[in-house]
Symmetry: C2
Subunit: 340 residues, 2 copies
Amino acid sequence: MIKKKIKLKDIAKELEVSISTVSKALKNSEEISRDTKEKIQAFARLYNYKPNNIAVSLKNKRTKNIGVIIPDIVHHFFTTVIRGVENYALEKGYNVIVCLSDESFDKEVINMEMLANGSIDGFIMSLSAGTEKKKDFNHLKEVTDQGIPLVLFDRVTNEIDCDKVVIDDIQGAYVATKKLIDEGRKRIVLLTTQDFFSVSLNRNLGYQKALKDAGVKVKDDFILKLPFMDVDDKAISEFLERTKPDAILSTNEIFGIFAMRVLQKKGFEIPNDISIIGFTDGLLAQHANPAITSVAQHGEKMGEMAAKMLIDRVENEEDEEPNYQTKIIAPTLIERESTF
Amino acid sequence: MIKKKIKLKDIAKELEVSISTVSKALKNSEEISRDTKEKIQAFARLYNYKPNNIAVSLKNKRTKNIGVIIPDIVHHFFTTVIRGVENYALEKGYNVIVCLSDESFDKEVINMEMLANGSIDGFIMSLSAGTEKKKDFNHLKEVTDQGIPLVLFDRVTNEIDCDKVVIDDIQGAYVATKKLIDEGRKRIVLLTTQDFFSVSLNRNLGYQKALKDAGVKVKDDFILKLPFMDVDDKAISEFLERTKPDAILSTNEIFGIFAMRVLQKKGFEIPNDISIIGFTDGLLAQHANPAITSVAQHGEKMGEMAAKMLIDRVENEEDEEPNYQTKIIAPTLIERESTF
DNA sequence: TTGTACGCGTTATCAC
DNA sequence: GTGATAACGCGTACAA
């Protein structure tokens, strides 16, 4: 009952010509006579011939696959990036192999090694928390040393020479903080993650810069650094009680949501009593009540750009002069109901 | 500067042995002498030799890739399924190639055809809206006819003979509706999508069955069928005004969230005035205020089961008697703040 | 215009 | 113990 896939050899045998004639005929080569071409093409269409990707890959040393390694897929931002990559990739005839590092250095290494042995033409990735913490980038170095193109996005590192796509995190935090200052807020606190995340560090800088520019003194105890994994309601609650803020900037979506719920349960009104701005313009921010003003990271655009950079690199490997670029996307402040 | 990847031939040349000796030595074959094995293995380790996946695939006719095609990735449920698939796949040494159909029949076909030509050992997929609407499953049929294993999950069809993983949607809706009835709710309305979605149909059945079992007459105008794409605030708003419900069952997460916001803006208290239960236990339901009681679909478990079924099938292709199975996962009602 | 021969990197069979 | 050879499916330089 199984209709096995037909291959060149089968067509050749059936039509009593050589394999190479079939191969050429199917590529519409000028060398082959109109008659045989038509005969072969008709037969191929009839039996739905499609070249075997693996054999073609082995021959061309091109897989038409791109590997994407992200820390976590249950995370709206990464999800939008994948969608962007997919969009562009499909258009160019590439498949996307997605691997999750699960925020773990080891998994990131394993995944990279698996894919680096011929499965893909290039990588798009965002560093896992484990890798950012450990600051060990040898697996990236090995990949680039082998000449495999790599594009880093969002969570990047200066240690590796390659193409990058990021948003201007400093600017994003600056604009958000400024918005809060302009509203007249005086006690603006920051909810963020630990410093080893490059993005958190930059957002923290932007926050501080905006305060300084407005002549406000930065207080260290107005900044709460939480572990990235399980959110700790209690820590947030205590922090808010201690600091009594009139505005909150959160460097991610989830901390902002948690803070808002804590405050609402205590009877505060958002934004009347307290304004909130979060990073990552995800579904949670959009559908919260009130909807949360957010710094959009434009994940889909980021994915598309990363894919474009990567595929350009893959398809023009002659470049002996790498000339790597870092594209910086401007973040956008999306004003909603959690600010005035 | 580029350190090209080393291959068997390079090792053979360097150590002045034959390629096959190297190959055997690296697989620790008994045929090779201890000395040469050690020498070769040491050399291979030093130069970090790793077999080329593509060549191995061509030889074994096994790619160790599995293709996952889903309608949308910016959707928490599918995202958890992918995570489940990834978990199991990585453990078994498989990569996951993710393709998005974008709810479109055409994209689904294109993606399938791309992957079916040797890129993957089997498929895991959930039907796009377009495919469910069109009821054209030829692309699936072709794939299974070629002997490529296929596991359908969540949005499945009876037209195709293959392994399947679903949750018991009827039961899920039944339990949720019963919960609302037991709370004493009298005017329970249903927010759902159009009938061509198999899951919506079943959830609708469960809702109606629960009402009938409780002796409540089902009113057709208590059921609102919305297009799946862009949610229409106004339609929901009008529906709620017309039906004046004291409880809402939503067959997905997003409609429930929208309904809640509409009601809250009108001054209703959840759950004091109106209870809400949604399907898909996603981030939105968890972090809404109040948090929404939901029917959990156990996406991660579903993904793991689908991956296990697929890989079992792939690795035991001798089975001439297919004997396909449909695994039915029991849904769980997660009680939160939007019900009593 | 068509066909032969070889290579892509690996593995398995068989001969030495 | 080791090595030559064929095969996986395709593409192409070269020969006929």
